[in-house]
Point group: none
Chain length 209, copies 2
DNA sequence: AACAAAAGTTTCTTATAGGAAACTTTTGTT
DNA sequence: AACAAAAGTTTCCTATAAGAAACTTTTGTT
């Protein structure tokens, strides 16, 4: 049996389609996701094996959809690769955000996650959404990202849930936002949010392309 | 070996704790979740078995954490029980949020403020936005709109800022959302939000067409 | 191009998940 | 309480996942 005749052993998964609002059958693949995550982080199977404690061959088989991993294995994958478990079967639609998330949170290779932001994606189960909502905890007075503008396609809305932040942008004066304040801007303009209070800030973000 | 000496075969999972903001080890259990979901729906193992196509014994073993289900089995569970896959390993609090996320309200366009809702549009200065953010105060226990579904184009995201609301929708079970909970849904499906607590509820809404 | 080293795949074996049926416990009725 | 029926658990067997090592393919160097 060569590598091209493998058969798909995996059943499909029902998901809510936000376009049509019908429950439709869509294939969720741990294999493709795993491979995407691993290659994106420039890891070889051997390195991924070391991090997760799983055999090289096992990883290969999962990536090629020859086996369906147990939950226990999925947990090892998530922990070892420093990702959230649902990422193993959710398509990373918004490359911008997940990209940003990689920069700040899990920068595998250099294993220290930066401490400035922690993002919690919301409504991750829904695919092809028009909007991408997430909450971010911005660590207090941490200016590690200062000077690095964030640019990406689309528009962004934010609401301060807790704390106080400074919204810095390429073309406007810095704005101080406190609990309940909101902002809306074109995300192609460089922007950056930092916490200015002694405690962490909690932000709700919604982006749309 | 009786039922009390079973050993825990499952590894733990690293999760970010939003309180302490540290990465701590927490156990994620498909078994406990499954049992909670099944009993909540008043299903016997036999009925759950019919719906999912899995053996009664298999379900029992998963619930008692004697085995770690494969991803393939988890998909069957989610599809058969009509839940989102992450609900199988997310604590009910969060799963209600993200797992639920399929419903709500907005009536921009019909500008009359009713007694039940008070809308505050945000970012009004900007025209031609992709998203429309606004805050709504939903008056306590006012059921004036009960029974009238709201339908409109686009998708909607909501986050509960204060209070507790019930999100009613045409196609899903009602969901109770409390402070910090969010939902995302196709707004062409009938939807309605009412306050279920004694005090008013405050909601952030973002819609996109 | 030839070779070596690294990366990835497949095979083979062992461990464990999943299903059928026997067994045990719980529930409800008299 | 005694019994029957239903619900849940365990055993035993088969199917399949996970690991070790052999094998193949790709990459990089001369």
């Amino acid at each position: 049996m060569n590598k091209y005749d493998q058969l798909d052993k995996h059943p499909s998964m029902a998901v809510v389609d936000s376009e049509s609002n019908t429950r439709k059958i869509e294939k969720a693949s741990v294999g493709l996701q795993l491979k995407a995550i691993r290659t994106k982080n420039k890891l070889t199977l051997e390195e991924a094996s070391k991090r997760t404690g799983l055999a090289r061959s096992t990883l290969s088989k999962i990536e090629n959809e020859q086996i369906s991993p147990t939950f226990s294995v999925m947990q090892k994958l998530a922990a070892g690769l420093d990702i959230d478990l649902p990422q193993l079967f959710t398509k990373p639609k918004e490359s911008k955000i997940t990209g940003r998330r990689d920069i700040t949170l899990n920068e595998q290779g250099s294993p220290h996650a930066t401490l400035t932001y922690e993002h919690e994606l919301l409504a991750v189960q829904l695919r092809n959404k028009k909007m991408m909502p997430y909450k971010s905890r911005i660590h207090a007075r941490n200016f590690e990202h200062f000077g690095e503008w964030i640019h990406h396609e689309g528009e962004e809305f934010l609401l301060v849930l807790e704390g106080e932040v400074q919204l810095l942008t390429e073309f406007y004066e810095p704005a101080t936002l406190t609990e309940g304040d909101s902002a809306y801007y074109d995300a192609t303009m460089g922007h950056l949010v930092i916490s200015t209070s002694k405690k962490d800030a909690l932000i709700l973000w919604v982006t749309a392309e």
